[in-house]
């Protein structure tokens, strides 16, 4: 055994460093994978969208149904995201600053949407508000439309996106502890003042980061929204659903044009995210997590 080990120049390199060949292979695999699975599709989206020229591309985007899908998507996001900001702040505040029974259960529950299939997330609302549900007669009597309408879309989106803000804030708040709050209280600040002047500013960049991820997901969500939408063209179709419909109708330019808008939004999100990580990385919980 001794001569076998003797051939390796142990003293010349760090213990975790691999040989040049291994390193090159690993890097190559990663690059090829990224190119094939992420960059190629992205380029293809734009290539397909512009296949019949810029004129057809913008024509497809000006289609009333496409515009309505964009409007609906933004409306859903604008309603769902603020709700999740409030929920995320409340939950992370409670988890990070107080000790109570069932805390771990709450943390697991917050993660639930990550582990549940989006279809189930949509189906929950169908079971709750659908025509065979217990609530159905009451809803009909009061002429309240939840499924196949904006409320259903918002609910499904909220369910799917609610971990994003909380997930971002909890580790950071836990790490910061409660001494800053104690200091503020000892100086005579009220609970609300402490929150506005101390707690919130301490997590502001993590909050922006969480909101960004939450918004991106809210705009891009397909599965859960698909279940509750009803696919009424020009009325309950969000952008991802509209892309699917157009594609199934062989309207490729239209489908890829709308898809390119989604892709652009994703790229903008990625850009802001990169800036945040570069500028405020030390104030982001995910900076520690990764």
């Amino acid at each position: 055994m001794a001569n076998l080990f003797g051939r390796v120049p142990i003293g010349l390199r760090s213990a975790v460093n691999e040989g040049a060949f291994t390193r090159l292979t690993l890097i190559l695999i990663a690059v090829v994978f990224l190119a094939l699975f992420l960059i190629m599709p992205l380029i293809l989206v734009f290539v397909e969208a512009l296949r019949q020229g810029a004129g057809a591309y913008f024509e497809a985007l000006k289609d009333p149904d496409a515009l309505s899908a964009m409007r609906l998507t933004l409306t859903v996001a604008v309603i769902a995201v603020p709700f999740n900001i409030v929920f995320g702040l409340a939950a992370s505040w409670a988890i990070a600053k107080f000790d109570f029974r069932g805390k771990n259960l709450l943390i697991s529950l917050i993660d639930l949407p990550f582990s549940v299939s989006p279809v189930i997330s949509g189906l929950v609302w169908v079971l709750l508000f659908g025509s065979h549900s217990v609530l159905s007669p009451w809803l009909q009597a009061h002429d309240i439309q939840i499924l196949f309408a904006l409320p259903g879309l918002v609910l499904a989106t909220m369910f799917v996106t609610f971990p994003f803000v909380a997930r971002e804030l909890i580790p950071l708040m836990q790490e910061q502890g409660t001494t800053d709050e104690e200091a503020a209280l000892s100086l005579g600040a009220s609970g609300l003042q402490t929150f506005w002047h101390v707690t919130l500013p301490n997590v502001r960049w993590a909050l922006v980061y969480g909101v960004l991820l939450c918004t991106a997901r809210a705009i891009g969500e397909f599965g859960a929204v698909s279940v509750v939408s009803g696919h009424i063209r020009g009325q309950t179709n969000t952008m991802p659903l509209h892309v699917e419909i157009l594609y199934n109708e062989y309207s490729f330019v239209g489908a890829f044009a709308v898809a390119s808008v989604l892709a652009l939004l994703a790229l903008v999100t990625l850009g802001i995210k990169a800036v945040l990580e570069w500028r405020y990385g030390n104030q982001l919980a995910s900076g520690h997590r990764r």
């Binding site: 104690e182 200091a183 503020a184 209280l185 000892s186 100086l187 005579g188 600040a189 009220s190």
Partner: protein, 358 residues
């Protein structure tokens, strides 16, 4: 302001942090709560502040029961060990925070808050740094900002949790002297927590030694140092040698000399006068004698540390398992008597003897 602490207890989950602590603190006094970690000193300080709520007992400020007042209502100035400065605010806004959050009726104008904060920054010798952020300050500067911030609300008492804990030795000594001067100038009742005996003895008017959630002894520094009431205080203060010995009619022999048992009344009935005992002898209470005098007990020098005004010597003495530590004047060392492996005689000039109850 005068503070009365009456029979405070505090339970953390089943583990008692404070077991019935009573203490009177006079107006303008500078008091140190001294003890090892887990002795309950910080819990006591936080209880006075209102950051912790005792399980039972009362806390009175100038005779008024404040036990049910929140931390904000007690008007205390609290300085945290980690400073807890608001990192997104400038030094000026940190100091002005306590005034800014006052209800509109009592809140000074923006200009007045600014002026007051600048005054306080001058007081803590940080004039000119008002626009810095906490991250741009040194540890000592941060601590002084934290003090200025606490003073801004015109507190009735200043409570400091390990005020110098996170600083290096030199800054620590400077800041200690500075805090003493500040206290003398402001005349504010001040209580600080420390595990550093030197800090407590040098800075405080009165030292409260705590152990296992109870007060072992409270008194002026000279008193607790020279006249420790309990075995714990003897062992905790100063550098001591510990000897196992035996009492017979209230007398115990330590290094060949007889000492009487300490006359401490620890509230457990009359002191025992016979049986196992423990004796504490400070390093400077060990006398080294040259060979010719032949008094005391023979010893062999094992190591010498000639740094500073006195020289520390480690000696092996027959019949004692652990080496004995002695501190002798430098002149004695320079006379050439003390060398490694040289033979000497040792004697105890003083010893505090406590019966052993367990």
């Amino acid at each position: 302001m005068q503070i009365s602490i009456r029979n405070i207890t505090k339970q953390f989950d089943r583990f008692p942090a404070l077991g019935g602590v009573s203490l009177e603190i006079g107006s303008g006094e500078l008091v140190a709560l001294l003890g090892p970690s887990g002795s309950g000193k910080t819990t006591l300080l936080r209880s006075i502040a209102g950051l912790e709520h005792p399980s039972s007992g009362q806390i009175l400020f100038d005779g008024e029961d404040v036990s049910n007042l929140s931390v904000g209502e007690r008007r205390i100035g609290f300085a945290f060990q980690s400073y807890a400065l608001f990192r997104h605010m400038t030094v000026l806004n940190n100091v002005g925070f306590g005034l800014k959050v006052r209800p509109r009726k009592t809140r000074p104008s923006r200009a007045e808050i600014r002026e007051r904060a600048l005054e306080l920054l001058d007081l803590v010798q940080l004039g000119g740094l008002e626009n810095r952020f906490p991250s741009q300050l040194s540890g000592g500067q941060r601590q002084r900002v934290a003090l200025a911030r606490a003073l801004a609300i015109e507190p009735r008492v200043l409570l400091l949790d390990e005020p110098f804990g996170a600083l290096d030795a030199k800054v620590r000594k400077e800041l200690r002297r500075w805090l003493r001067q500040l206290h003398d100038r402001l005349g504010l009742t001040t209580i600080f927590v420390t595990h550093d005996q030197e800090e407590a003895l040098e800075l405080a008017d009165r030292v409260v030694v705590m152990n296992k959630g109870e007060i072992e002894q409270a008194g002026p520094p000279v008193e607790v140092y020279d006249d420790p009431a309990t075995a714990f205080v003897s062992e905790f203060l100063g550098t001591v040698n510990t000897f196992q010995t035996t009492l017979s009619d209230g007398i115990a022999e330590v290094l060949g000399t007889d000492f009487p048992v300490a006359d401490a009344d620890i509230g457990e009935g009359p002191q025992r006068r016979h049986g196992p005992a423990i004796a504490y002898v400070r390093t400077h209470e060990i006398e080294l004698l040259s060979r010719e005098r032949a008094e005391g007990i023979p010893a062999i020098v094992r190591a010498v540390f000639p740094f500073g005004g006195s020289v520390r010597v480690e000696l092996a003495v027959e019949g004692y398992d652990t080496p004995i530590q002695a501190e002798v004047p430098r002149a004695f060392f320079e006379a050439g008597e003390v060398r490694v492996n040289s033979g000497l005689f040792v004697r105890a000039t003083n010893a505090r003897v406590f019966p052993q109850y367990n």
